[in-house]
């Protein structure tokens, strides 16, 4: 994002940014959603599911993870930034659904457990 002297001055003085800057930022965000036709709720759901899938293979930093839509030149891209703590298994042996549950380390199943819990919660209602 481009910065001008005025932007810096405004930041230093704790003033509101110029309204054109606000307009630009708001437009970029709303257009990314308009163009992809994804509602914020759907995006959030997709984000959760992406985290779940990735968490099967590598241990990711859930706090630092980020999935967002970005646009440039009328192209909208889904950008996922998922910091990896460490891989769970050697890459040569990709986990299959069947044997996965047996030899997992406790930390990495966090996401899976959470989803199990929520499922259990839903069914008990």
């Amino acid at each position: 994002m481009a910065m001008t002297l005025r932007d810096i001055l405004n930041k230093l003085l704790g003033r509101q940014p110029a309204s054109a800057t606000t307009a630009r930022e708001r437009l970029q965000l709303v257009l990314a959603h308009d163009r992809s036709d994804l509602s914020p709720e759907l995006l959030e759901q997709m984000r959760r599911e992406i985290f779940e899938v990735v968490a099967k293979y590598v241990e990711i930093d859930l706090e630092g993870g980020e999935v967002s839509l970005e646009t440039e030149d009328r192209m909208t891209a889904l950008v996922a930034n998922l910091p990896i703590k460490r891989s769970i298994k050697p890459a040569a042996n990709p986990p299959s659904k069947a044997d996965e549950s047996e030899d997992q380390e406790p930390s990495e199943t966090k996401e899976a457990e959470e989803s199990k819990e929520s499922e259990a919660g839903e069914s008990s209602d």
Binding site: A2, T4, S19, A20, A23, R24, V30, L31, D34
Partner: protein, 271 residues
């Protein structure tokens, strides 16, 4: 037969951003260059092109009678008194919208293309049937927008639809620019809008009170000897359409005092 006829849709999505005014002024400006031009009012629901051109009292037949074959095309065309190279094909009755199809608009556009070098189609606001009919008839497009979030957002929707219909080129006209507000960063800059919409800028038009005066009279600015900022802007757009290399006006350079220079320094993007 004129195989090189350019059929250009003038659209915006949002209403009230200056489509019809641009159509009228471009029509006159092109006509003054000796180019045979016709403006087609495709806004059947809320027609106004006749009013801006001062031709509202001279309409006998409309596109409706032409399509129904109850009159010939040349009977429906209204020639402009002061600019004989320009003609208007008026919009028909709003009830036409009930049966009008994209093929009907295509038929009208190809009839006009036989007789004129430029066919400018004044598109209705919105993205419903009226818009779709007008798009079907055009080959290229000019999207008009103002530096406001709502107008830019609607323009983006329209550009997406134009792209899927294969119109090309699609060019942008930024209307109602206020240089002072832009310099103070209280209005989206031209670069902001072209970056966001990813379209080449065909022209930039300053907010100009003379536009209101000229619409009051039914005499487009390009028809009069006016040298107002908008009059120059319209004329420049017509010249660029004709392939002439006319430099774009830089609103930031409108002010030349020390204060303006200081402001410019403050707006320079440093990283």
């Amino acid at each position: 037969m004129a195989p090189t006829t350019r059929t250009i849709l003038i659209c915006s999505g949002k209403g009230g951003v200056g489509k019809t005014t641009l159509t009228a002024n471009l029509g006159i400006a092109l006509g003054r260059q000796g180019i045979r031009t016709v403006v087609l009012d495709a806004d059947f629901g809320l027609r106004n092109l006749d009013l801006l051109l001062g031709l509202e009292n001279r309409i006998v037949y409309t596109a409706q009678e032409v399509l129904a074959e109850s009159c010939r095309l040349d009977q429906a065309l209204v020639k402009h008194k002061q600019e004989p190279n320009l003609a208007l094909l008026p919009a028909g009755n709003p009830r036409m919208l009930e049966w009008l199809k994209p093929e009907d608009m295509q038929r009208i556009a190809s009839m006009l293309a036989d007789q004129f070098d430029y066919v400018l189609i004044d598109c209705p606001a919105g993205i419903e049937d009226g818009f779709k009919n007008a798009v079907a008839a055009a080959k290229e497009a000019i999207v008009v927008t103002t530096p406001e979030v709502s107008a830019v957002r609607d323009a983006d929707r329209v550009i997406g639809l134009l792209n899927t219909q294969g119109l090309s080129p699609i060019q942008l006209v930024l209307n109602r620019v206020r240089p002072k507000m832009m310099a103070n960063q209280e209005m989206l800059a031209a670069d902001d809008v072209t970056d966001i919409l990813a379209l080449p800028l065909l022209g930039l038009l300053l907010e100009d009170e003379q536009v209101i005066v000229s619409t009051n009279r039914g005499e487009p600015l390009t028809l009069t000897k006016s040298n107002s900022p908008a009059a120059r802007g319209y004329a420049n757009i017509a010249r660029r359409l004709q392939g002439e290399d006319v430099p774009l006006m830089d609103p930031a350079k409108e002010g030349r005092g020390l204060r303006a220079k200081l402001w410019q320094l403050m707006q320079t993007k440093i990283f």
